[in-house]
């Protein structure tokens, strides 16, 4: 299933709606990184609220997205990680060190706005 990517101002929002296969995740990564350049996006938000499991491939892909987007001049925020998912992730040692996370979409947008103000 393809993940819809919405453009909202200077930001791109990818809202994952259901469990994704590894191929879907790779496709999401390619699509997001391509659009960061196309729309000259300042920020990327990946909403994972609908995910109730997160495996190592998913975590690695999210990390790759964040690092690649940064190299292309865009800040990434992962939002909506469920409490159970967060707990399972740290227990499995799947960390998102160095990557910004936020409670939900609203928080993620607030963070990116604050970041934009900082830059002026």
């Amino acid at each position: 299933m393809e993940v819809p990517i919405l453009k909202q101002g200077h930001y791109l929002i990818a809202s994952i709606q259901s469990a994704l296969t590894d191929a879907d995740l790779s496709q999401l990564r390619e699509a997001l990184i391509a659009r960061v350049g196309k729309y000259r996006a300042r920020g990327v938000i990946v909403d994972v609220t609908a995910l109730d499991v997160m495996d190592s491939f998913a975590v690695r892909t999210l990390r790759d997205i964040a690092h690649m987007a940064r190299l292309r001049g865009s800040e990434t925020v992962i939002v909506g990680i469920q409490p159970e998912v967060a707990f399972a992730m740290v227990q499995l040692g799947l960390s998102l060190k160095g990557i910004v996370t936020a409670l939900d979409l609203e928080e993620g947008l607030a963070f990116l706005d604050a970041k934009a103000r900082e830059r002026g």
Partner: protein, 305 residues
């Protein structure tokens, strides 16, 4: 449990006497014990005091308990059924455990009673060695079973109380409190075991979500000791909270805990720590952009004379 089962199915007699024999002998034995009740009971109470057992109870109490234990003991010998004794042992344990009576004391007094009664049997039958042997053959297994029943009853009661208390402690679970908009505090008091640590983390993560918290202050002033397991769990909690977009500040690490953590080499570089709860809340307010100001001018300091 296993001990009791094997005891319950084990035949009362040893090889020599038959079942009928044992019953007759036990009847004789019981008659003897009833006859000398007062004297044996006193002797027993005296030996208890001498052995410095049941120090938590007064002499009158010991004597009263000794009387009823004695009667139940003789009854169990007579009937060969242990249900009544079991119930009595449980009831007794319920009464004396809160008084601080220890397991070794309970076992000790029952064994003392066994010895006192055995001595009196030696005295009675010392002229007829064969008879003494047969009486002892009948008496010893029954007496040992009684000792077993009482000890098991006591330990079971004790374990029941411990389970009950553990339950109570678990129910007094740690609250997650909101002190400002988007600021939670989690005071942790007492011992953290893996189970509680897990429960704490789950509770905290849920609270972060429902309260939309940005900053969490975990205060561990009330935690006496910490090992590497708990420390790692704390690190995991911090990491999981961060995944939900909340910053965690840990406060109140005692000097001992700080030393332990440094000694065992737990990596706490990812963790923001502040000395005490006040400092932690101030830091949290700063992160959230709160500014605390007094409304009026503070009272002037007293002027030196």
């Amino acid at each position: 449990m296993k001990v009791k089962d094997t005891q319950a199915t084990a035949p009362l007699q040893t090889q020599q006497p038959t079942g009928e024999d044992t019953k007759g002998l036990l009847r004789e034995l019981v008659a003897h014990l009833r006859q000398n009740r007062t004297q044996l009971r006193e002797e027993w109470a005296r030996r208890i005091t001498q052995a410095k057992l049941l120090t938590a109870m007064t002499e009158e109490e010991i004597f009263a308990e000794a009387t009823s234990v004695y009667d139940n003991y003789v009854e169990a010998l007579e009937t060969g059924t242990f249900e009544a004794l079991q119930a009595y042992a449980r009831n007794l344990s319920e009464r004396i455990i809160p008084r601080g009576v220890e397991t070794h004391e309970v076992v000790g007094i029952v064994l003392l009673l066994r010895d006192v009664l055995a001595r009196s049997l030696f005295g009675k039958y010392h002229e007829d060695f064969t008879k003494l042997n047969r009486i002892l053959d009948a008496y010893e297994p029954a007496a040992n079973r009684i000792a077993n029943t009482v000890a098991v009853g006591f330990v079971q009661e004790r374990e029941r109380i411990i389970r009950q208390q553990q339950e109570a402690i678990r129910e007094l679970s740690t609250p997650v409190l909101q002190v400002r908009e988007r600021l939670l505090i989690l005071p942790i008091i007492g011992v953290i075991d893996p189970q509680r640590a897990r429960q704490l983390t789950e509770q905290l993560l849920r609270a972060i979500r429902t309260n939309r918290a940005k900053v969490v202050v975990i205060d561990i002033t009330g935690v006496a000791a910490m090992d590497s397991n708990v420390a790692n769990h704390l690190v995991q909690t911090v990491e999981a909270s961060r995944l939900l977009g909340a910053t965690v500040i840990v406060t109140g690490l005692s000097p001992e805990i700080a030393q332990t953590l440094v000694t065992i080499g737990v990596d706490l570089s990812e963790m923001a720590t502040v000395g005490d709860l006040q400092g932690g809340i101030e830091e949290a307010e700063r992160l959230l952009g709160y500014k605390v100001a007094t409304l009026a001018e503070p009272a002037a300091p007293p002027q030196p004379a």
